[in-house]
Symmetry: C2
Subunit: 349 residues, 2 copies
């Protein structure tokens, strides 16, 4: 597969947003964050989104010149109104505010309203790491694919949770998970590749396993742990959506089928300053010990290696930074077409 | 089944702790919280624990006259040293501190170290509700039953999460879940009743389903959503244990097999003041709408009713308050024996 350097990918995305009318600094931020998604292998949330983002911006569904502002504030919290800007810009700002506040209070929580899809959840939780903080991120997904447990009405989304915890030498521990067994993007990828889904990802309206991803619209995703995942998705939605006056439940706009209505996406970021609890180096050393113990666990037959959450993404960051980020041929072609449409330089050759 | 009033159950538990040397106010708190666990149907975490708690206190494993104190503090956080007291006392204090701080800063997080088992997670998250706050609670379980994904060494516990969210008229939304498919207490209950476990609760060391709960020590619990539940359990342990300088991983004491070593249990409570984000009544009305929409969802064939998390516990609170709390005959006999041993009045007749 052809590869591209992080820097060229970032520049391509930046140029695309510039051509769509976004101010320079914001376009730079979009380039950096979306290329960072691809760098860690979150390829369903990186440059692949440039095509639908462009479609939505051109349809007037996203504001490329938002006035992002704080509308509620206390010492340990803020509520940010994203003015219908790209979620990446809103949540980067939110994370920066949370870090600053947490340094004073020990913990801070910043919610968003009138935001949009922000790419992989882990990007924002990871913003805690350079500050020796723990980051927690919650978001309302941009399409409902999950009914309440026992129900058929899709009132909930895959509402993800991400948490990032620094260590000394073991690499950060980064959890980034949908509250459904599979994220909807994985279903789409199976459909594109013409593959069947494993049992447990989706069920149809009669409760039977749904295995053909081309029939995905006839069924719905399964929550992790049955009713527990239903509860988790609901709680994430309450924290990231309802608390912020953002869309939740029936209010969620399906951005796969509606390019014009503001999504009023809600997200939340929480930063915990480790130094408030004690010595940071001692904490990091304890995380190292824990990661080492987990990795050294005796393994089940056939298991080659035990991973700590985030370890595989971290390994990809190192490898792709050195060797380039792989871009599938079909996507490369799409991006060439997009470059022509936007009048920007192509990704490369 | 025979029932007992909340007040008599509370008095019985209070008397038991008084006889074990606990100061009056603390014994009252223990009675109130443990009876509250039974009142909501968390019967694996209520008066049934009086026997093992007594055994542990008599063995010197718990301090009945702890000096609970704040050892780290900022405007939005505190770290509480429980001085090896009962977890209920430590976490009630932690929740009170968090509520007070959150009122000023909008959010507060209080962790514990040198605490102990504190009963059902939901008790502490629910302490947010009278203050129009959202409560989040995380705890390290008191015995490791979960290996890392693909592993065989039991380095993690069922590390629970509880979240409580107030509404106007729909009842509070209260999620209280282990990060494993089944809590270990449910396995013990199946064994006591001579029943088999459903597939998915436990596996043996070869990865095969383990169905006989009497063989539970030959296998381990399954995390919810496979590797996702492993990640969640680890994150909860990092937040509630490692961050607080409390036991995590190999340091966790199995309180089923060790009555004397201080467990150094870690917990964390986070309180979010809804009024910091906007109008409280508007928030509660939106939670009502959401709960109503979820309950009104079209149902799968054979499903009688759709529940919102915490709804069944709330219904039990109402019913048991009116009709009394059911106590199984075998437990009643155990408690009569305990009453004789402690020289206190029996539960009743």
């Amino acid at each position: 597969m052809k590869t591209i350097s992080f820097e060229r990918l970032q520049q391509f995305i930046t140029n695309a947003f510039l051509s769509l009318g976004m101010p320079d600094a914001d376009a730079q931020t979009m380039g950096a964050l979306m290329a960072d998604a691809d760098l860690q292998g979150s390829d369903g949330h990186g440059v692949i989104r440039m095509v639908p983002y462009t479609r939505r911006i051109r349809a007037g569904g996203v504001n490329v010149r938002p006035q992002i502002k704080i509308v509620q504030e206390r010492a340990g919290m803020a509520l940010v109104d994203g003015d219908n800007g790209m979620g990446h810009l809103v949540m980067k700002r939110a994370a920066e505010i949370a870090v600053e506040k947490a340094r004073a209070t020990g913990i801070a929580w910043v919610g968003s309203q009138w935001s949009n899809h922000a790419g992989p959840a882990s990007l924002y939780a990871r913003m805690a790491l350079p500050h020796d903080m723990i980051g927690l991120y919650f978001a309302v997904g941009n399409a409902n694919h999950l009914p309440p447990w026992g129900g058929l009405d899709m009132l909930l989304s895959t509402n993800p949770i991400a948490v990032a915890v620094p260590s000394a030498n073991a690499g950060p521990i980064v959890l980034d998970m949908a509250t459904t067994v599979a994220a909807y993007g994985k279903v789409k990828a199976k459909a594109q590749r013409g593959e069947m889904m494993p049992e447990g990802w989706m069920i149809d309206r009669s409760g039977q396993p749904l295995l053909d991803p081309k029939r995905a619209e006839e069924g719905f995703l399964m929550p992790i742990g049955g009713y527990k995942g239903y509860g988790l998705s609901l709680i994430v939605g309450l924290l990231a959506g309802t608390l912020n006056g953002a869309a939740m439940g029936k209010e969620v706009i399906d951005f796969n089928h509606d390019d014009t209505t503001a999504t009023n996406t809600g997200q939340a970021i929480c930063m915990i300053d480790i130094s408030a609890f004690g010595d940071v180096d001692a904490f990091k050393a304890r995380v190292d010990t824990l990661a080492t113990d987990l990795r050294a666990s005796e393994r089940m037959s056939g298991v080659e290696r035990i991973w700590v959450p985030g370890e595989q993404s971290e390994a990809r960051r190192v490898r792709y930074a050195a060797e380039g980020i792989p871009i599938a041929p079909a996507l490369w072609t799409q991006l060439d077409t997009l470059a022509t449409e936007l009048g920007i330089a192509p990704l490369g050759d």
